[in-house]
Amino acid sequence: MKRLSRLRRHRAAGPILLIFALFTIGTTFQVASAVNSDTTTVAARSATIDEGKQLFLKGCSSCHGLNAEGGQIAPSLIGVGAADVDFQVGTGRMPMADMSVQAMRKKPVYNPEQVNALATYVASLAPGPAVPTDAVLNYERDGSVAQGGELFRTNCAMCHNFAAQGGALTQGKYAPTLMGVEPKQIYEAMITGPQSMPVFSDKTITPAEKLSIIKWIKSTEAEPQLGGTALGRVGPVTEGLLVWTLGIGLLIGVAVWLAMKAR
């Protein structure tokens, strides 16, 4: 008690107390208002979670388990986060059409609201990466195309090819083409690492760098034919094919005409 009274009489006691008081009032107010506004969203959220759970039980639980704990043929979804669900279901990869080596991109089974409900439900089970918002995904503003290209070639081209056309993995798996993939889905894939793809952490490839990668992919996708038909942008194999068919074919055709007797 002696110590406290001594402190109370300290020269700085007044100002410190004042700051402390102001701070307390401010935070209390903030928390109160937050709780206030949250009550409405919490209600809406729990409705979405319920809807998601119903969809999950109908469409996903036979493989992923009634509580998303995973099963013999499918992994646990606890902690995968909303981004993962949004990617897998939003690109139509889930639910899988058949038990092939890899879930293929196809027309989504669920509409965007349903995807959102599923994602919210799975995210409610345990925290995980969230779906990036449009504000985050402003790659046109925040990305650098040249830096994106460099990052892409170091981190992505080994599987997805130099022009993001996709490529082969082992045992029939493949890295899909990135042409026509939504920026949000590219972003989600990088932070969640779907299927064979590894995770690219925000510390090793920063969110800004991820936007640069997206910007480069989009710029490559939009790049017109600078030198004529791109032949699939897969390198020398198609070039060889063309020269062995059209190239030598045209020349031999002319040679046959040349050596034919005129009527």
Partner: protein, 330 residues
């Protein structure tokens, strides 16, 4: 008729058949016109080329079915050139086929072999030439000339010596030392273990000392791939396990087969694939080769954390990285 088997006889060159243009002046005129049209088309092609070069801006694009949105200047120049050249050729050939004589001519072949007389003469000339030079009679000259010529052949080999330095231990060593931080490539940011989620990979290089420049030569030896797994997924010896840190394992990214960058990591199977020759390495078993032509695992870099919590190398690579070479001992 005798019993001898009679082969089918050569009927000889068939009689020449006249073309339309040989007999019909109208057909000949038509052929002439066709040739002229082809040459005229060629001129049009060149005009297209000239026009494209001078008047078409390089940032204009035109949509062509099959080709897509194509650069107009490049297409105009190329098609102009193609038409210009092709039509000259087609015109000349058509001209030759329709209007130039098409009667086949027979020419006799000559024998390549020289007469026996000439051959004998030749041998004699060579012999007498050699004899007059006295090469056979003067072994001293022959031998010393042989030595001189042989030695002079060393000159180019010797002069080429300065093409490059000797390998010394350059193939055996990398820039990694005990305590070198792993930094991201590109970006050069140090990495903490908690920066990597399970299933994450990171392309890394050794941190540079202030003032140091990174060359491609360094990257070609130093590139390292970080992968994080669940620690229980490893199937490693105790020593190799001690080279990992909280499930993070580091391998040289330079393929042990032919040096391509092996960074194609499959998160589910924990396999690394080299896109050049498809060697497949099992990450859980210290990059053991499970498929393809590579004969050795990727060298593993022992890692730990430093006082500030950043990932660092425990020690240099314990074996040379990259493709094999004669002096490699294991």
């Amino acid at each position: 008729m005798s019993n001898e088997i009679e082969p089918i006889r050569d009927p000889g060159l068939p009689a020449h058949q006249h073309r339309q243009a040989d007999t019909d002046p109208i057909a000949a005129q038509r052929a002439e016109r066709q040739v002229a049209i082809l040459f005229g088309l060629s001129a049009v092609g060149t005009l297209l080329l000239i026009y494209s070069y001078i008047f078409v801006k390089s940032d204009k694009f035109i949509f062509i079915p099959v080709l897509g949105n194509t650069n107009t200047q490049q297409l105009g120049l190329g098609m102009g050139m193609a038409v210009a050249l092709f039509c000259i050729g087609a015109g000349a050939i058509h001209w030759a086929k329709t209007l130039m004589p098409d009667e086949e001519v027979i020419a006799q072949r000559h024998e390549f072999r020289s007469d026996d007389e000439d051959r004998a003469e030749f041998v004699k000339t060579v012999k007498s030439g050699a004899a007059s030079a006295g090469l056979g009679r003067r072994p001293l000259i022959k031998r010393s000339l042989g030595v001189a010529l042989g030695l002079s052949g060393l000159t180019p080999l010797l002069l080429l010596r300065d093409l490059g330095p000797l390998p010394k231990d350059n193939l055996q060593k990398t820039s990694w030392k005990a305590g070198t931080r792993l930094v991201t490539d590109p970006g050069d940011r140090p990495i903490r273990p908690e920066d990597l989620e399970i299933g994450a990979v990171a392309q890394t290089l050794p941190q540079l000392a202030p003032g140091e420049e990174r060359t491609l030569n360094n990257i070609g030896k130093d590139a390292v791939l970080l992968i994080r797994l669940r620690p229980e997924e490893f199937n490693l010896t105790a020593e190799r396990l001690s080279w990992t840190h909280e499930g993070i394992i580091a391998f040289s990214k330079i393929c042990s087969h032919m040096g391509c960058a092996v960074a194609l990591y499959e998160q589910q199977t924990k396999h690394l694939l080299c896109p050049c020759h498809q060697s497949t390495f099992d990450v859980t078993r210290a990059a053991k080769v499970i498929f393809g032509p590579a004969a050795r695992p990727l060298p593993q870099l022992a890692i730990t954390i430093d006082a500030d919590g950043y990932l660092v190398a425990q020690q240099p690579f314990t074996e040379p990285i990259g493709p094999s070479f004669w002096e490699r001992s294991s």
